[in-house]
């Protein structure tokens, strides 16, 4: 017997002879993959960190100061929040935000879902209609505001012309009326957003298994029963996502109202984001504006947490 066996696989290459044991090789591979992963997310994470996270953390600090852009930010404790409690404009903005959200969220869900159901059918030209429904979402907000302002014109606008034609003698004043300005904004906002949420719901609808509909049909379920007992339950994860996003976006509404009504007439459409903008950028009270921003943040977070709990309970 020989004590040294000749290699059975022929000539060994230098690399093969220097190769680390399998465990070390796996570890190096894992490190390499991790680095590649980090290199993908790092640019976005850096952007998020420096341009969103850090300013947001500073905002929380500023909410307890009297900072006005220049100079030192003196700590004032909860004085800004106490001031918010007695500030009539803040109260108006707060309730207007809730009012806007209470109208906008259900209306947008209803319209988007209806549109998604309609465009989930096998219709001729459905791709065109899906694209057309998405157009408002990508249209310039200023153009939207100008056109809708014309449509809502109380005396000469086509909307009121139609309302008069069908027998309504005193149609709403829309953007010129304190009572109707917010509903008018909600209508435009819903029209603008419906395409985006329609796409999300459409994607959800297409994941509903066909077999469930067939089984329901076999069991004698009519269209409404199939919608309530098959479509809606299967759509719950998408609906949950849509509701959460819609709620947060409704609480944060700013641009459309700024260009359509600038918060008016009077304070009829003043919302929290615009209150924050006015206090910060028009009146240079950044500390005070930050405290209002914290309240808006808390409002968003509390409602979102409630939605998560509610969704979890329903899932159970």
């Amino acid at each position: 017997m020989t004590t040294t066996a000749a290699p059975e696989t022929g000539i060994a290459t230098p690399a093969a002879s220097a190769a680390p044991p399998p465990r070390r090789r796996r570890s190096a591979l894992r490190r390499r993959n991790a680095l590649i992963g980090w290199s993908f997310i790092l640019p976005n994470f850096l952007g998020f960190g420096f341009l969103t996270l850090v300013p947001v953390l500073i905002l929380f600090y500023m909410a307890f100061t009297n900072w006005n852009v220049f100079g030192k930010a003196d700590w004032v404790g909860i004085a800004n929040f106490q001031r918010l409690l007695g500030d009539g404009s803040f109260h108006t903005a707060f309730w207007n935000t809730l009012y806007y959200s209470a109208l906008h969220i259900p209306l947008t869900i209803a319209v988007s879902l209806g549109l998604a159901l309609l465009l989930n059918q096998k219709l001729r030209g459905v791709a065109f209609f899906r694209t057309a429904a998405f157009f408002p979402y990508i249209t310039s907000i200023v153009a939207i505001a100008v056109v809708w302002n014309l449509l809502f014109s109380p005396d000469y606008g086509p909307i009121n012309e139609v309302l008069r034609a069908i027998g309504i003698e005193n149609p709403p004043g829309w953007l010129t009326s304190q009572e109707w300005a917010m509903p008018a904004v909600v209508i435009v906002s819903t029209w603008r957003d419906m395409g985006y949420y329609m796409i999300l719901l459409l994607a959800g609808l297409q994941t509903v298994p066909r077999e469930l509909y067939e089984a329901a049909r076999v069991d004698g379920a009519n269209a409404w029963q199939r919608f309530v007992n098959v479509t809606l339950p299967c759509l719950r994860p998408t609906m949950f996502f849509v509701t959460v996003m819609l709620t947060i976006n409704s609480f944060k509404v700013f641009d459309l109202i700024l260009v359509m009504t600038d918060g008016g007439p009077g304070q009829a459409t003043l919302v929290l984001s615009q209150f924050i903008y006015r206090k910060g950028f028009e009146e240079s009270q950044f500390g005070y504006a930050s405290s209002a921003a914290v309240v808006l943040f808390l409002l968003c977070i509390v409602v979102t947490i409630i939605q998560f709990f509610w969704n979890k309970r329903r899932s159970v």
Binding site: M62, N68, P265
Partner: protein
């Protein structure tokens, strides 16, 4: 929106720097060791030539000082300048576009004391840059509100031109007669700005917007609302819905009379020359008065307007201070006034020679009443220099849209505004 977002983010980031430390410049002046370059903030440089004209003229006299213009978006001018100043990269010379922001800059320690600059006698608007007896800027232009009128439309309607003796009652009567006589164009166009009602009310009743009592606005709003109701001028809601511009309404002869600031002169001349506005003969008259005590060319009509001025960045390099002060002195001088008048700008300093230069511009009106209206008036500041002004004006702006849209009656809106000012801002 993206710009606003960028500004918000920018301010938030610089906030962290400002929280950590605050520096204040030493205003002591030292002699420059060589040529000096000063940056000067401006906006819409293509259509606002005044900055370049002043910079070039100053450089011509001072070879070793160059003024470089730093352009900002006019719509977000104050926000962007504020962000730059907070970040320590603000301009050396700050153009004060709106008086209501002067106290923000001053209280933030961004403005250099320029009380040692000797201003020429008779210059208007200097007090708008004074805080606690210290001068923080000098005015170089002072627009005041006058009445622009279309002579061709007056002739067509057979209505006598304004003669300088008008009160608001005369204005209302003329607006009604013009509307009836023109059969299409309106007698009056009052733009949607709150200034168009409140500015005159504040100036002509001697009111102080900071004292929280706004009962004096009632008569002025009643008058404008009745002009709307009678059809003598386009109503606020139609103007908003159609995004009407005052340049278009007057320039396209949709309205025969337009209360507006004197800055409109240069615009109108330029638009008539380019064909953007119709070619018609027009003039300026003193703005109608509350009563006859200030009417007539023997009296001084009362109007309002805010100056535009220059301040010096408090954090400027010491060796630049002397040159910057020289520029401010030049900008307030008669020489600069002549240059500004020559390009259709209303300088803060006016005298006979400046009036002559201004009205020698091709396309400017040539009648004596226009010269009187442009040069003779008691101009009250629209925005008092106070840290409460912006907040109070915001509340009065809400009052304006509520009343003019017809959604709230005048008395209720005034009561709400008084309540809000007392509770949210506090009164002096």
């Amino acid at each position: 929106m993206k710009r606003k977002l960028a500004v918000v983010v920018g301010l938030a980031v610089v906030a962290s720097l400002s929280l950590a430390a605050c520096s204040s410049g030493d205003s002591a002046t030292t002699e420059p060791s060589g040529p000096v370059t000063l940056s000067l903030s401006g906006w819409s440089l293509d259509t606002t030539p005044e900055f370049q004209v002043l910079a070039d003229a100053f450089h011509e006299q001072n070879d070793d000082v160059t003024i470089e213009l730093k352009e900002y978006d006019p719509a977000e001018y104050n926000t962007l300048v504020t962000a730059d100043l907070a970040a320590g990269s603000g301009p050396d010379i700050i153009t004060q576009k709106e008086v209501k922001y002067v106290t923000t800059f001053q209280e933030g320690g961004q403005l250099l004391d320029v009380s040692d600059i000797e201003l020429p006698e008779g210059i208007g608007g200097a007090s708008s840059y004074e805080v606690d007896g210290v001068q923080y800027g000098v005015p170089y232009r002072q627009d005041s509100w006058v009445l622009f009128y279309n002579k061709a439309l007056f002739d067509q309607a057979g209505v006598a031109y304004p003669d300088g003796t008008w009160t608001w009652d005369d204005y209302d009567a003329a607006a009604a007669d013009l509307t009836a006589g023109l059969g299409g164009a309106k007698g009056s166009y009052m733009h949607r700005w709150q200034s168009v009602v409140q500015g005159f009310a504040n100036a002509q009743t001697g009111a102080d917007i900071l004292d929280g009592d706004y009962g004096y606005l009632e008569d002025y709003y009643d008058r404008v609302l009745s002009l709307q109701d009678s059809g003598a001028q386009v109503d606020f809601n139609t103007s908003s819905a159609n995004s009407l511009t005052y340049q278009g309404e007057f320039g396209k002869q949709n309205a025969a009379m337009l209360p507006m600031g004197t800055w409109f002169t240069a615009t109108l001349i330029s638009q008539q020359a380019s064909g953007e506005a119709d070619d018609f003969e027009w003039g300026m008259a003193p703005i109608p008065q509350l009563d006859s005590s200030t009417t007539g060319t023997d009296e001084t009509p009362v109007t309002f307007g805010d100056p535009t001025g220059f301040s010096i960045n408090a954090n400027i390099d010491d060796e630049k201070v002397a040159a910057a002060k020289e520029f401010l002195t030049f900008a307030a001088s008669e020489e600069a006034a002549q240059l500004l008048a020559g390009i259709g700008i209303t300088p803060a300093l006016t005298n006979d020679a400046v009036v002559e230069t201004y009205f020698a511009v091709d396309g400017a009106p040539t009648d004596e009443l226009s010269a009187f209206a442009w040069s003779t008036h008691d101009t009250f500041p629209e925005n008092p220099t106070s840290n409460k002004t912006a907040a109070v004006q915001g509340i009065l702006g809400d009052l304006h849209t509520a009343v003019m849209s017809g959604s709230v009656d005048v008395k209720t809106a005034i009561a709400e505004a008084e309540d809000r000012v007392a509770n949210e801002v506090g009164t002096d």
